[in-house]
């Protein structure tokens, strides 16, 4: 449907921004994501899975990226990584794709309405949370290479 198509486009833009496509001309790189269970924050979960898949496949990347979802509740508080229930009750859901080089924003998408200041606050919170996700990537890669 249209929602899946829009998610595909957002994922594609993010991946194309970090993949070094110049090293593989005339080649199609296809990424397949299968949703096993959805408990909220689906798009940022897809972004994280996509980054780990690209890492595992050994494709050349200029930087790592991660996805963070923020939910703006009706009283103005920011909730990171909301569950499906919290997403339904929220006033706005913002998803950001953040790169590991200087925490640059690769992709931003919003569902609902919020003011510019609120969006800036959500973005700052997401950039702080991205550090935790990048540390998780680093620990996973450590574990994998310590086995051999």
């Amino acid at each position: 449907g249209v929602l899946e198509r829009s998610r595909e486009q957002l994922l594609r833009q993010t991946c194309e921004a970090v993949l070094l496509g110049v090293l593989h001309p005339r080649t199609a790189i296809s990424l397949v994501l299968q949703v096993l269970s959805d408990a909220g924050s689906l798009l940022s979960c897809c972004l994280n899975a996509a980054c780990m898949a690209l890492l595992d496949a050994g494709l050349p990347l200029a930087a790592l990226f991660c996805g963070v979802t923020c939910a703006l509740q009706p009283d103005g508080t920011i909730l990171l990584d909301p569950t499906a229930r919290q997403e339904q009750e929220a006033r706005a859901i913002l998803t950001f794709a953040i790169a590991s080089s200087n925490r640059k924003v690769l992709m931003a998408t919003t569902k609902g309405s919020c003011s510019v200041e609120e969006m800036q606050q959500c973005l700052a919170a997401a950039q702080r949370a991205a550090s935790t996700i990048f540390q998780f990537y680093r620990d996973s890669v450590h574990r994998r290479y310590s086995k051999s």
Binding site: L20, T27, G58, P60, L61, S100, Y137, V141
Partner: protein
């Protein structure tokens, strides 16, 4: 975390690096590039140029890591840095010895599947002792062990089965029978290291013939089908077994 904003390359040798990490090189490499400043003392600067190997790209201040893996360094001859990463998909590189499967004969060239994104081409004259009258007997489905003479991202890869002096030196059509299977590229590099323990231990078990292709393909042939399959299973399992588990498995087999 410090590696993201630039850490010294020597400090990270032997450690895990991730894409996006910036490695800073010692200052004397930049001096050579400028060519303006004279080095007054003999210093510890190595002669020659630094080689930037797989997984690294030159970027302004230093080297940008593009693949995840362990950072390795070779000090001889100007020095070389590269990232040792585990991968299953092969990308053709000039000079690599690989096993290819013949998929088509198009006039004077054979098309080989080497596991990359494009089929490689092999001319019928690229065998030892081949002339226009004396053509090699290659059929579709045969296995060929050869090396790349042309392999870059812009052109179709080309293989030959002779070295620069015209001798075959072990390359050519791989014989009948035997078993071809695929493993990860890291295991192949481990097996090709000098004095590999796995090969030595296996050779004490049964005599066998082994061809290792850098594209992840291994061809094995032993006296009976059962021995061949045992060797195949051990080589496939070597990726996940530790040295003790492997020795135990081999001890059980040689006891039988």
């Amino acid at each position: 975390m410090t590696a993201e904003h630039g850490a010294a390359a020597e400090a990270l040798v032997g450690q895990v690096v991730l894409p996006g990490d910036l490695l800073l090189l010692p200052a004397h490499y930049d001096e050579d590039a400028e060519g303006e400043r004279l080095r007054l003392s003999a210093g510890t600067a190595p002669q020659g140029r630094l080689l930037c190997g797989p997984g690294l790209r030159r970027s302004g201040a230093g080297l940008l890591v593009t693949k995840c893996g362990l950072l390795r360094h070779r000090p001889g001859g100007g020095g070389a840095y590269w990232v040792d990463s585990q991968q299953k998909r092969y990308v053709p590189v000039k000079g690599d010895h690989v096993i290819g499967i013949v998929t088509a004969k198009a006039g004077d060239v054979f098309r080989l599947d080497v596991g990359g994104s494009e089929p490689a081409s092999l001319s019928y004259l690229a065998f030892e002792g081949a002339t226009k009258r004396n053509r090699p007997n290659v059929q579709v489905g045969d296995l060929i062990y050869g090396q790349f003479v042309v392999a870059n991202k812009d052109m179709e890869p080309e293989m030959v089965c002779i070295d620069s002096s015209g001798k075959s030196s072990g390359m050519g059509i791989i014989g009948q029978d035997g078993f071809l299977f695929k493993v990860s590229l890291g295991l192949i590099r481990k097996l090709l290291a000098p004095k590999c323990e796995i090969i030595q231990e296996l050779s004490q078990l049964y005599p066998f013939e082994l061809v290792l292709g850098m594209n992840g393909r291994i061809w094995v042939k032993a006296k009976t089908v059962q021995q061949t399959l045992i060797i195949v299973n051990i080589l496939e399992a070597c990726e996940y077994m530790t040295a003790e588990q492997r020795k135990q498995a081999l001890a059980k087999l040689s006891g039988n």
